[in-house]
């Protein structure tokens, strides 16, 4: 230990390029390097989680049990959810935040660069631990990503203990990341970058960071109670000791509902950059976008029990959570209408990022509307725990969050690499994904309304046709993502030199830097007018 970093490096690293070799990535304090690490990590997790989804869809291709054991099926649904939420979507947004926020606000780097590195490097270890549970006695966690008690307590496999500590590690990573983003945005803005001039991606991330700080500790609390219930004899979620399994759901969803906004607000920010760029018009209703995002965040703390309408909560609770949930449609509607008004009479062109952004607006809105259907407590009694719910949250997460991320990656990739995007390849990826995603998830609405339960490896014969369609769509979507990998890697390797502005209508500090930007952008703060 003594040889490590005991001397002080008295010059700050501003005028250096990146270090050489693997050390660059292991020891880096540079926001761009850390952003890149996050994005590649998230891509790998996306492919792993996606393979699990394909295994699920392969099993569901036909009724009856064909490929995998029901127990393993449960492990797949659990790990697929956990990996996509904590390993793919969240780190991708943190990666984009790392890359873009310091550049967008004219800062030299993130506020706390060493802690930034730590936030990232915890994740590979946490997920290695989670995935190693697949090879343990009793198998990987099999209780669903929502780990409801008593499935995760009384009936849990031994790997639940590793799951608990893995979630703790992810939580530590997220909390440090959120603190860093808050410190960066509140303290590192260039002179003249006042609050109401902040780019929307920065605003949405600031609000997201507050959500993370408020709910990740609650997740830590609930997994801790699971741990003590399993191993130390407590009875938080066991009515025999005076506890309550429903209590688990309350605490979990107090985390879980803001969590779904954590996964969508940054995408709102990205889309709010892309649509004005390709409509060649300033964003309609900037201030209302900021207030709408903040309202969604505040409301997200008052709606959690809409996930629990059928569990047996008092009537007053059902009513309160039903109306509070519907209220979220108001600020969300403001956003959707603002995007539409931005495009109204614009000179729109349809480059790849814009295609993804437009698909985001349309398909996310479909997911939002099915969410409103689910918000109506009496209707939810019919939909609860069916494929309708699966269709709903995949519409907001896949063509919502994931398309938002992909739109952002295609939008900023030329800036990062300095190479113009191959439009043909980008569009090919878009259309295959767009068709694949709808083929996969749209039929799930129908089989859900008809009563097919989620998280079951077998189903009744009348659901066979739509399941087959969904499985074909899933494989189409899944394999199309290899095109995405190809597009990103070939853009990194070669391409025509991009201009600083990259896209004709692009505005903001990030487009004033060279493409690619220098390793240390803005050692001197830019002047913002």
């Amino acid at each position: 230990m003594s040889a490590v970093g005991t001397e002080v490096d008295t010059h700050d690293d501003h005028h250096h390029g990146p270090a050489r070799g693997i050390g660059r990535w292991l020891f880096t304090t540079n926001h761009k390097d850390i952003g890149t690490l996050y994005l590649f990590f998230s891509l790998i997790m996306f492919l792993i989680g996606g393979s699990m989804a394909l295994l699920i869809r392969a099993e569901l291709f036909q009724p009856g049990l064909q490929l995998i054991e029901p127990g393993f099926f449960n492990q797949m649904t659990t790990l697929h959810g956990l990996i996509m939420v904590f390993g793919a979507v969240m780190p991708a947004f943190v990666g984009l935040a790392n890359w873009m926020i310091p550049i967008m606000i004219g800062a030299p780097d993130m506020a706390l660069p060493r802690m930034n590195n730590w936030s990232f490097w915890i994740l590979p270890f946490a997920f290695a631990m989670l995935l190693s549970s697949l090879f343990m006695e009793g198998g990987a966690p099999n209780f669903g990503w929502t780990f409801y008690a008593p499935l995760s307590t009384t009936y849990a496999p031994p790997s639940v203990t590793y799951f608990v500590f893995g979630v703790h590690m992810m939580g530590i990573s997220s909390i440090m990341g959120a603190i860093n983003i808050i410190a960066t945005i509140t303290n590192m803005r260039a002179p003249g970058m006042t609050w109401m001039k902040l780019p929307l991606f920065v605003w949405t991330w600031l609000i997201t960071a507050f959500l993370l700080l408020a709910v990740m500790p609650v997740l830590a609390g609930v997994v801790t109670m699971v741990l003590t219930d399993v191993h130390f004899g407590t009875s938080f979620f066991n009515a025999a000791g005076g506890g309550d399994p429903v209590l688990f759901q309350h605490v979990f969803w107090f985390f879980g509902h803001p969590e779904v906004y954590i996964m969508i607000l940054p995408a709102f920010g990205i889309v709010s950059h892309i649509i004005p760029t390709f409509a060649r018009k300033p964003l309609f209703g900037y201030a209302s976008m900021v207030y709408a995002t903040a309202s969604i965040a505040v409301l997200s703390f008052t709606v959690w029990a809409h996930h629990m309408f059928t569990v047996g909560i008092p009537l007053a609770g059902e009513l309160f959570f039903m109306y509070a949930t519907m209220a979220i449609a108001v600020p969300t509607g403001v956003k959707v209408f603002n995007w539409m008004a931005t495009m109204w009479r614009g000179s729109i062109t349809f480059e790849t990022p814009m295609l993804f952004a437009l698909a985001f607006v349309v398909l996310f809105t479909i997911g939002g509307l099915s969410g409103l259907m689910l918000a109506i407590a009496p209707s939810d009694f019919q939909y609860h725990d069916t494929y309708f719910v699966v269709a709903h949250f995949h519409y907001v997460l896949v063509p919502g969050a994931v398309f938002g991320i992909m739109a952002g990656v295609y939008f900023w990739l030329p800036k990062w690499t300095g190479h113009v995007l191959d439009e043909r390849a980008g569009r090919r990826h878009f259309w295959l994904s767009f068709i694949g995603v709808n083929l996969t998830f749209f039929p799930m609405h129908f089989i859900g309304l008809a009563g097919m339960p989620r998280r079951i490896p077998d189903y009744a014969l009348q659901f066979a046709d739509f399941n087959m369609v969904a499985s074909i769509g899933a494989f189409l979507f899944g394999f199309s993502q290899l095109l995405f990998v190809w597009n990103v890697i070939s853009n990194i390797r070669k391409g025509r030199q991009a201009t600083d502005q990259v896209w004709e209508g692009a505005q903001g500090l990030e487009w004033e830097l060279s493409s690619p930007p220098p390793y240390h952008s803005f050692s001197e703060p830019p002047k913002v007018n």
Binding site: G5, P158, T161, P217, V222, F236, A240
Partner: protein
């Protein structure tokens, strides 16, 4: 945004974070393996070694990492703007800690006002009485619904003995740490050391009394983790608070060591302030505990 950006210190590459990640992985994997071996699920004995190795490594790394930060700070590399980043970081870290405790306080309130009364047949979901028809709701819950699986406590801790005394200890320790801060601002190093030492002493006495109370709860009152929901909420709240007091005392002790070495001056002493904020937070949580866990 008064200072210019060019003064913002962006550290060079650092080895600490990746090593800290490895240490944390040892700690997590070791803890899980160790805890599983306690329940006999996996007989693996290496868990405890991995856990200890992880904790030791993490401690060493944090010493080295903070050591780096202290040396850089004393070398004058940190601007006022960086100081603000630290302050913002600490404030929001404490906020996340508040939310951690909020989860357990929320659990306590839910159980007391809804879950236990429902099990006793009251209110909207009183139908759950049918599960254990002989059960009567009460708080503290001395008889659990299944009293053989979760034998309720024979008695609970009286708030007016040790807990009241502990409240006085912690509240006065908040005062002493503030007095130490005032002494630091006056550059009165002697008083600074005395008040800081007094704060640490109060913290240690508090932990001692808590340990004594736990021993008594386990051996005489039958108040254990297994004693139904009263025991569970009692120990999770007081236990995590106790851990935080221990951590806070350690932090204050390190601050005292730094004071002894002549660190901090009336203008620049962020670490001292951060430690005292943390201490006040721990104190406020205790007041909540005293009211809702012990008294009411």
């Amino acid at each position: 945004m008064s200072e210019s950006h060019s003064a913002y210190y962006v550290p060079a590459q650092s080895r600490w974070p990746i090593f800290a990640s490895v240490a944390l992985a040892f700690l997590g994997y070791g803890a899980a393996t160790f805890i599983n071996s306690l329940s006999g699920d996996t007989p693996a004995s290496y868990g405890v070694f991995l856990l200890i190795a992880g904790m030791t490594l993490l401690t060493l790394i944090l010493f080295g990492w903070f050591g780096n930060v202290i040396t850089e700070s004393r070398a004058g590399l940190y601007s006022g703007q960086l100081d603000r980043s630290f302050r913002i970081g600490m404030v929001w870290f404490i906020f996340s800690e508040v939310m951690f405790f909020a989860a357990f306080f929320g659990t306590l309130f839910y159980v007391r006002t809804l879950a236990v009364p429902w099990l006793g047949g009251e209110g909207d979901k009183g139908v759950s009485q049918m599960l254990w028809p002989q059960f009567t709701a009460a708080w503290p819950l001395m008889e659990t619904p299944d009293n053989t699986l979760f034998p309720g406590p024979k008695a609970t801790v009286s708030p007016w003995h040790i807990p009241l005394f502990n409240t006085m200890l912690l509240v006065s320790s908040s005062v002493t740490v503030t007095l130490a801060h005032h002494a630091l601002l006056r550059n009165d190093r002697k008083r600074l050391k005395q008040w800081l030492a007094a704060t640490i002493a109060l913290g240690i006495i508090f932990i001692g009394f808590q340990a004594y109370e736990y021993a008594e709860a386990y051996h005489e009152l039958g108040l254990t983790l297994n004693a139904g929901i009263y025991g569970a909420t009692f120990f999770i709240l007081t236990g995590f608070h106790g851990l935080h007091v221990t951590l806070g005392t350690l932090i204050l002790f390190i601050i005292l060591m730094r004071v002894m070495r002549g660190h901090f001056d009336p203008q620049k002493h962020f670490a001292f302030e951060a430690a005292s904020w943390y201490w006040h937070f721990v104190d406020v949580v205790w007041v909540g505990l005293f009211l809702f866990v012990y008294v009411l």
